[in-house]
């Protein structure tokens, strides 16, 4: 029986297709998260003040919740595809660690792009509900026809942030697969240090990180920052798990 000589790109393509079919949970969970986001975004804040002759009810709806929940989803999805169950599924067919990483990461990227776009569009549903409920409404956001440039920049921003969160989740997931000891470490870095309000490297680092992306005003530089960060995160993930044993 002759031996097949597989090409990496070929296998990655096949695995990508397989994972598109097998990991549909990624997309259904995205759908659920965004619906919840839309739901909680509508009239998420309201206050009123009243006097004898005047009452003002201020009902604010926001596109924040679908976007924030999409980021949460991206982070969790990033972690999820690195877990044991997903890996064993992948290694039931032709795979090595690199092809597994590449196909998973491509899937996460695709899902992030879809998530990023739909997160912005999900705002439209919220907006629509607000329109349907009220005759007079003030829109404090750029619309598609109003300012298409802002609209598409918004979508691009959303995609990049989603990819960033997914990449972060993916890397954390990979580290956890390498050693469970990473979990308490992450908890310390993310929760304990800020809570203790210590002026050690940890707090400083987190604030710097947020500022690094959040205060960037040039879109192109932001794009570069995200691309470089994600490439580094991916390389790290591949490096730490390249010796992982599967189907033990």
């Amino acid at each position: 029986m002759y031996l097949t000589v597989p090409r990496l790109t070929d296998i990655v393509k096949k695995q990508f297709r397989y994972k598109m079919n097998a990991y549909t949970g990624i997309f259904s969970s995205l759908l659920i998260m965004q619906l919840i986001g839309i739901f909680f975004g509508v009239n998420s804040y309201s206050s009123y003040e009243a006097s004898e002759s005047l009452r003002i009810t201020d009902a604010t709806s926001t596109g924040d919740t679908p976007v924030v929940l999409t980021l949460v989803w991206a982070f969790i999805t990033g972690i999820l595809v690195t877990t044991l169950a997903y890996r064993n599924d992948a290694f039931s067919f032709v795979s090595n660690r690199l092809s597994h990483h590449l196909s998973s990461f491509l899937l996460v990227l695709l899902a992030s792009v879809v998530g990023g776009i739909t997160a912005v569009l999900a705002g439209s549903i919220g907006k629509f509900i607000v329109y349907a409920q009220n005759s007079t409404i003030t829109i404090e956001s750029p619309g598609l026809l109003d300012s298409p440039f802002s609209f598409f920049i918004g979508i691009a921003t959303s995609i990049l942030y989603t990819i960033l969160f997914a990449g972060l989740g993916y890397t954390i997931g990979s580290f956890v697969q390498r050693s469970k000891l990473v979990i308490p470490l992450i908890v310390i870095v993310l929760i304990a240090l800020p809570a203790l309000n210590l002026s050690v490297g940890g707090v400083f680092f987190i604030e710097k990180t947020i500022a690094f992306f959040g205060t960037e005003t040039s879109f192109l530089i932001f794009l570069m920052k995200v691309v470089i960060t994600v490439v580094v995160l991916f390389a790290l993930s591949v490096a730490v798990t390249n010796k992982t044993e599967v189907r033990k």
């Binding site: 029986m1 097949t4 296998i11 990991y23 064993n88 067919f93 795979s95 090595n96 044993e245 189907r247």
Partner: protein, 304 residues
């Protein structure tokens, strides 16, 4: 050509802990159906996972198709390991899983897969994780067979299957092997079930290989002496016996086949017949070692 080569391979799961495989050396030729035989927990699965490249050696070297299988795409594409860790996404139906397998394996025999699928009466829209253990293993075995991988590995494939299905599976394996000769490793702790199938046997015991070779060689290592009890006993007194059974005044004793021609002639004269043993008895004799069999546990208890 050599398909699999183990050079001084040691595998331990935690550093410092007792090693599952211990300085193992062997090589398996291409297109041979080899049974990997050993009791539970002797390292059969570890050995197979090393070959498939799922886990990596602690020391030594594994070569499959002259490549290190760990992280080798070539080995992965030409190898399939069927065992109970085989898992598929719960989102896929059985039919979809077969379709995916078709995409991944170049030699996939869709017709065979379909026929076996129907023969074992699977429902195309069923989900893998809802199958019973036996059904799951049957389905995995179908994938293993239909993949027609140059190296096909079955690790305890029949666990949970009922007797009829077991027999059908082994028959299917044999027929498919004859039609498409390839390197097959088949592990079981029930040698008697598969001894008719195997060409070679790779015996694993305590992380080592006490025997590797044609199954007939294993059988030739032992014989059974059948005859009057006192006459047989006289002959085996300075040989270690690996089990005996008394039937009235007759006795059967399993001993190492180290009889010279002269000795064989003398045994014949005394009315003692030399009977070849089934591979399973030889295997039991070889693996039980000097500790003796379970009978000895009771025998020594009564003499104490």
């Amino acid at each position: 050509m050599t398909a699999i080569e183990f050079n001084n391979v040691t595998k331990s799961y935690q550093s410092g802990a007792h090693s599952v495989l211990n300085h193992m050396n062997f090589s398996i030729q291409e297109n041979v159906l080899t049974g990997v035989i050993g009791r539970n927990g002797v390292g059969k699965s570890t050995l197979m996972k090393l070959i498939a490249g799922h886990i990596k050696v602690s020391s030594g070297e594994v070569r499959v198709f002259s490549e290190n299988p760990f992280n080798s795409l070539k080995v992965s594409a030409n190898t399939i390991l069927v065992d109970d860790t085989m898992s598929f996404s719960d989102k896929l139906t059985l039919q979809q899983i077969l379709k995916e397998a078709d995409r991944f394996y170049a030699n996939w025999d869709a017709r065979l897969a379909k026929r076996l699928f129907d023969f074992f009466s699977f429902h195309p829209f069923a989900h893998h994780q809802h199958l019973s253990k036996g059904k799951k293993n049957t389905f995995n075995a179908i994938i293993g067979l239909a993949a027609h991988c140059p190296l096909t590995i079955f690790d305890e494939p029949t666990t949970g299957m009922d007797t009829v299905v077991r027999k059908d599976f082994y028959r299917a394996l044999l027929k498919d092997y004859i039609a498409h000769p390839r390197t097959i490793l088949l592990s079981s702790h029930h040698l008697e079930e598969i001894e008719d199938l195997l060409e070679d046997i790779l015996l694993v015991r305590d992380g080592t290989i006490p025997f590797h070779g044609p199954i007939t060689d294993l059988q030739d290592m032992y014989v059974k002496l059948v005859g009057k009890e006192e006459k047989v006993r006289a002959h085996v007194v300075e040989r270690s016996s690996f089990g005996s059974q008394v039937n009235g005044s007759f006795i059967e004793v399993l001993v190492k086949n180290t009889f010279t021609m002269d000795e064989q002639a003398r045994l014949n004269e005394e009315g003692i017949t030399i009977v070849p043993v089934p591979a399973n008895d030889a295997y039991v004799a070889l693996t039980s070692g000097s500790k003796g069999g379970i009978d000895d546990v009771f025998n020594s208890a009564t003499t104490d």
